[in-house]
């Protein structure tokens, strides 16, 4: 039973691309009613959602993104006080405590995990973030070429 390591799968790029571009088309349909600033916010949200969608519901961070709207409102579930203090007490170094807290605030759903699973989630999150960034760079590049 591979409980310790998740399988390190490669992000599913076609699925990511399909969903993100479909989102872009829909956003574009309503382009005349939305301001640019508003639209950038919506596009960013769509990026995170398509990332989480492509990654599947198995991961904690995808769950946090899809159900808590992570980038817009950081309203993910926090640990109850007692459990958090227990986890905190295990790392004796204050600097790592601070860093761990920072990492938890970066990764969606990070406050509800212990440190080792936080690291795994971060790895997965980084994989999908890089895939998403590459996809968006491609799209922007193509637009810049033709405009």
């Amino acid at each position: 039973m591979h409980n310790n390591k998740y399988l390190k799968e490669n992000p599913n790029q076609p699925l990511l691309a399909y969903h993100f571009i479909q989102a872009l088309t829909r956003i574009n349909l309503a382009a005349h009613t939305t301001s640019t600033k508003q639209r950038s916010h919506i596009i960013k949200h769509a990026a995170y959602v398509s990332m989480a969608f492509a990654a599947g519901n198995k991961r904690t961070w995808t769950h946090a993104v899809l159900h808590n709207r992570f980038p817009i409102k950081t309203r993910f579930h926090r640990l109850s006080g007692s459990r958090r203090s227990f986890i905190v007490s295990l790392s004796r170094n204050k600097e790592t405590l601070h860093q761990a807290h920072l990492l938890r605030s970066l990764v969606p759903g990070g406050h509800a995990m212990e440190f080792s699973s936080l690291l795994m989630e971060t790895a997965n999150y980084i994989q999908y973030l890089t895939a998403q960034v590459r996809l968006m760079q491609c799209i922007v590049e193509k637009f810049d070429m033709h405009v």
């Binding site: 039973m1 409980n3 310790n4 390591k5 490669n10 599913n12 790029q13 076609p14 699925l15 691309a17 399909y18 571009i21 479909q22 872009l24 088309t25 829909r26 956003i27 574009n28 005349h32 640019t36 639209r39 950038s40 596009i43 960013k44 990026a47 995170y48 959602v49 969608f53 599947g56 519901n57 899809l66 159900h67 986890i87 295990l90 790592t96 860093q99 990492l103 970066l106 990764v107 212990e114 080792s116 690291l119 971060t122 790895a123 980084i126 994989q127 973030l129 960034v133 590459r134 996809l135 968006m136 491609c138 799209i139 922007v140 590049e141 193509k142 637009f143 070429m145 033709h146 405009v147």
Partner: protein, 300 residues
């Protein structure tokens, strides 16, 4: 004697396996009396061992005394060999050499609590069958269950940090948990900032282009299970020049990521879930988790 050895090795493992090992092997001593039945071996649990540890310690010393009576010369002979062999085993991992180097370094760091009875050898044989972690207490270290659990946890964390080291570019030379964490945090922050910046760019560019995804990305790609479908997206029948650039996007993007075995399940229900997501952008509706699990059979 061999069976006693095996029993001992099975017993002196991490916190949550004694229940399992008692089920599997017959043990001569009565330890089963006080152990609560609910602690069964799953690696991710937080060990809650306040009352546990005392009983464990008694039992371990009792066991080791047994061992010492039968094999008095073993310790002297194997003194050198232990430091090379001892490593911590995680699930089905068989490669012990990097671990043993690391653990011998760890051993040097530890203050020498000379508990004589903490020398056990690792076994590789039946790691695959069990789903709990075998931990060996090294020579000169406490066999307290707390420290065993701590060591397991630390090993897990350092292993995952090494995985992360491969992901974050330019982190090969950085050693040390604090610096690695700094790098990771910086990287994640920079990626998130990139996403934000690119979405601003896309929002600015967007109103000038009107494209239709139905013409660009034929539905065939998502229904086919062939790994080469990505490369053969093909020029759909209704392609005009204004759409061709976006088609180029999809082609370059899909080709540049190597997906040899990308199997995408049928998307009969995916558009529904996506509609669900985006049509009510502000009051976002939840994706039904059943939908997601049913559709996303892509990662196996």
């Amino acid at each position: 004697m061999i069976s006693a050895n095996v029993d001992e090795q099975h017993f002196l493992t991490s916190d949550w396996d004694p229940i399992l090992s008692m089920d599997n092997h017959t043990m001569s001593f009565d330890v089963s009396a006080g152990f609560p039945p609910y602690i069964v071996g799953v690696s991710e649990q937080m060990p809650n061992l306040s009352f546990f540890s005392s009983k464990r310690h008694e039992a371990s010393t009792h066991l080791v005394d047994n061992n010492h009576q039968t094999e008095p010369n073993l310790k002297g002979k194997k003194r050198k060999a232990v430091s090379n062999e001892v490593h911590i085993e995680v699930e089905q991992k068989k490669d012990g050499s990097p671990e043993s180097a690391k653990s011998s370094k760890e051993k040097d760091e530890k203050k020498g609590k000379t508990s004589k009875h903490s020398k056990v050898n690792t076994q590789n044989a039946d790691a695959g069958k069990d789903d709990y972690i075998h931990v060996r207490a090294k020579r000169g270290q406490a066999t307290n269950s707390h420290s065993l659990a701590e060591r397991v946890r630390r090993e897990k964390i350092s292993e995952r940090m090494r995985l992360l080291q491969d992901l974050v570019p330019g982190c090969n030379k950085i050693t040390g948990k604090a610096m690695m964490l700094d790098e990771i945090i910086n990287y994640v922050q920079s990626l998130q900032r990139q996403v934000e910046f690119l979405s601003m760019k896309l929002a600015a560019v967007h109103p000038e282009v009107n494209f239709d995804i139905e013409q660009i990305l034929p539905k065939g790609i998502l229904h086919s299970k062939d790994g080469n479908a990505a490369a053969t997206i093909g020029f759909g029948p209704g392609m005009t020049t204004s759409h061709s650039h976006l088609h180029g996007v999809i082609q370059t993007d899909v080709r540049m990521c190597s997906m040899p075995n990308s199997q995408i399940s049928s998307t009969a229900r995916i558009p529904n879930a996506w509609d669900h997501e985006l049509q009510n952008v502000v009051p976002m509706s939840f994706i039904d988790s059943k939908d997601l699990n049913g559709d996303l059979k892509v990662q196996t």
